[in-house]
Every structure is written in C-alpha cells, then in structure tokens.
Symmetry: C2
C-alpha cells in the first residue's frame, strides 16, 4: 500500500532461520505494495534490554530514590531519554503497522524484545492515565505478533499440554499492545517449523506472504475480557 509505513521489530540471531525468512518475505511483499519498511534487527543492533538509569541523560528528578517509570516519563517530556530509545520511538511514530517477528521463548517474547517494549513504550509516549487501552497513545496504529513455536498446534490447544495459545497471547496482545491503544491484528503463528520438512516450511512462508498481500483489508481482533478465555 503506497504511503504506508511498516516497522518490523525482529529478534532472531540467525539470518537463515525461519524467523529470518518470515521477516524477509514480509519485506518483499510489503515493498512490492509500495510500503516503506524499517527493520529493527535487535540482535544485530546489540539492543540493550535492561531498563536502567542510563536510559535518562542528564539530571534525575529524584536521584535518591530511582523510579524507572516516573523518571523515563519525565525524561520523555524533557526530551532527555537516551539515544537508542529516541531512535526507536521515532520509528514507532511513523509506523502505521508494527510487526513483531520472533521465536516464542518461554510462552513470551525473547528477553531482547521484551526489553525493547520495556524501554521504548514509555509513559507519555505510548500510554498515559487516562490514555490507555482504547485511548492509548498509539491508537492509530496496527500491531501484529508473528512468531514461531517449538510445540505443535495440538499442544497449544485448549486440552493440550501447553494450553490454548490464546492464554499466552493475553499478556502480549491485551496487556501490552491493546494497553498502548494499538489495533491488534490476528497473530501469525508458525507452529513448530523445526519439526517439518522443507516443503512444509516453504508453505508456511507462502501462507504469510499471501496474508500480507491483503493485510490492509484486515479488521482488528477483539482482545479483551470477558469472552476472551471462554
């Protein structure tokens, strides 16, 4: 879609991985549509995951008692957040759609991607009070979680060992994305690519490519209680 900006936040160590291929095919398809793509390749950037006082340049409001949330909120207002956070926030600002591409680690994001969220989605920038959930500050943007799993789809069913995949989507989709106001598109879940052959893996990539061809027509999903866990 000409004029649309897409940010891909990508967390995999290996370019030849399924995650790398899913990222690459997304770039191909979206570029063909005329979208502008920016990629934050977190491992290549050696992105710092830890939320520390180094995230604020200059004076702290209360150096005697450091509160990360309060200090980063003030630093955002004053424009004194550290450089790498500011750069990522600029990318978020211009994005119409953010795709998070990652392997599921322990039912959640890999730490390096969790650190991107912890540090970039600062109060005042991504949300405020009021100004969260449907009125979150990023409410004009779309978010989409695209991830690979170790377990099969059956394992992640309601009666499967790992439980319904929606259970683990809750903190990510509702607790983070919806909290910041994002309209959440259905997740793209690539189940257990390591346990299938090349042909099936190619098909998984094709499915993602086909979906992306019509991505701008998709409607966001509901990701709120009470029906969510029914």
């Amino acid at each position: 879609m000409p004029g649309k900006n897409v940010l891909i936040v990508y967390a995999h160590q290996e370019p030849k991985s399924m995650n790398g291929s899913l990222k690459n095919i997304a770039v191909d398809v979206l570029q063909k549509q005329g979208c502008s793509i920016i990629i934050s390749d977190l491992y290549s950037m050696n992105f710092n995951a830890a939320a520390t006082r180094n995230d604020i340049t200059g004076e702290l409001c209360n150096p005697q008692h450091f509160r990360y949330g309060a200090e980063t909120m003030e630093a955002f207002k004053k424009g004194v957040l550290c450089e790498d956070i500011l750069k990522e926030q600029e990318k978020v600002k211009v994005a119409d759609l953010i795709i998070f591409q990652f392997p599921l680690y322990w039912y959640s994001f890999p730490a390096i991607m969790k650190g991107w969220i912890d540090r970039v989605f600062v109060q005042g920038f991504a949300f405020d009070f009021p100004g969260c959930y449907d009125t979150g500050l990023l409410k004009d943007k779309l978010a989409l979680l695209s991830f690979t799993t170790g377990g099969t789809e059956e394992m992640f069913s309601k009666d499967g060992m790992r439980g319904d995949i929606r259970y683990l989507l809750w903190p990510m989709q509702h607790g983070i994305m919806h909290f910041c106001g994002f309209k959440v598109l259905a997740p793209q879940i690539t189940y257990a690519p390591e346990y299938v052959g090349d042909e099936k893996r190619k098909n998984m990539l094709l499915l993602w490519a086909r979906r992306l061809e019509a991505i701008w027509d998709e409607r966001p999903i509901e990701c709120t209680p009470p029906w969510y866990f029914q």
Copy 2:
C-alpha cells in the same frame, strides 16, 4: 528451616524500593530460620539478558545455522556454557526454593529477569523431552513469584480493566515454572505500593514476613488447565 537453601532472583534498580524491602525482609526472616540465602541481584550484576552465540564457549555444532536452543543444550552437556550461565545454574542446583522478586513490567517479568530465565533454564538442565511439566528436571524445587504492580487489585479482577491477575500468571507459572517441574507456591502480589501511604507499605512487608515464617508448611498450587481460567 535449617538446611534449606533459598535463591532470590531479584530485579530492581533501587535498593530503597518496595521490591528492595521485600527482598531484604525475606532475607531477614529466612536467615532467622537458619536457611542459607543466595541473591542474584540482576541489575547490580549487570546481567546480560540477550540469548546469543556468546553463551556457548568453543565450537558450535552448526556454525552455519545457529539454533540457540540446540546449541545451548549441547553446550550444557559438554560443560561449555559461558561462565555467567554456569554460575546461575550452580545456584539453582542447590536451591530448595527460588523466589523471583520483581516489579511487574507489561504483565510479565522485566526483560533482565526474562533474560535470566531464557539463558539459565537450558534444555538438559531445567527440562527435557520427556522431562517437562510434572517430570521437569527441577521437580524437587519450589518456585514463588513475588511482585509489585502498578495497578490496584480491583483493576486485576476478572471484570477489571486489566483482567484477572491469574491470566497473566499463566505463562509465568505454568509455561515456565511448571514446565521445568517446579512446585509452584502461591504468588505474593503486592498491589500498587506506590499509591498507598507508609503505614500500608509497612503492612505489606509484614504480610510477606508472616507468610515466610510458615513458608515451608505451604502446599503448592495447581497451575494447569482446564479449570485454571474458570
């Protein structure tokens, strides 16, 4: 309890924080019982959260296509995981109880603590196939999540804005702790300490201290489907 070993994995930047106090009071109470305590103070240690090939010292099995899980499993067997992971695994090995003390960040662990889990709970050490959930390799240990929240208890109720707190406990308690075999003790949730006065905060600490006095008599909770989300 004389003879019991407790590991406290602690993630807060500020020693004077509520999390710092909760950690300190735990040390006091447990030491009085005769327990041995080890603390992994992740921010002070400048703990590396990112799962990279640096976690394996020496040759990779497949340097052409890096797979973090497979490589760390092999490195664990050969004893060639990097030093900081090995040190944390030694602490885990001797622990009867692991307490995770942290502020809830985005419905989950702060990234630095997620990184500790991503990197320390290596296949072959913490779990295997088979050898997960009830037969997980850490099945003779207890785990307890002790955390503070920004939101109030009402917000984290079933009909509250943030949804039942149990929803977000699922990936952490079932997906990580139970997966590794831990017997999970009920979480210690200190709601919104920043929004109450000193007297109430003191009381929150006292509640934690009282609970810890009888902690060795507690029975683990159930943290599996299908009834979990009812």
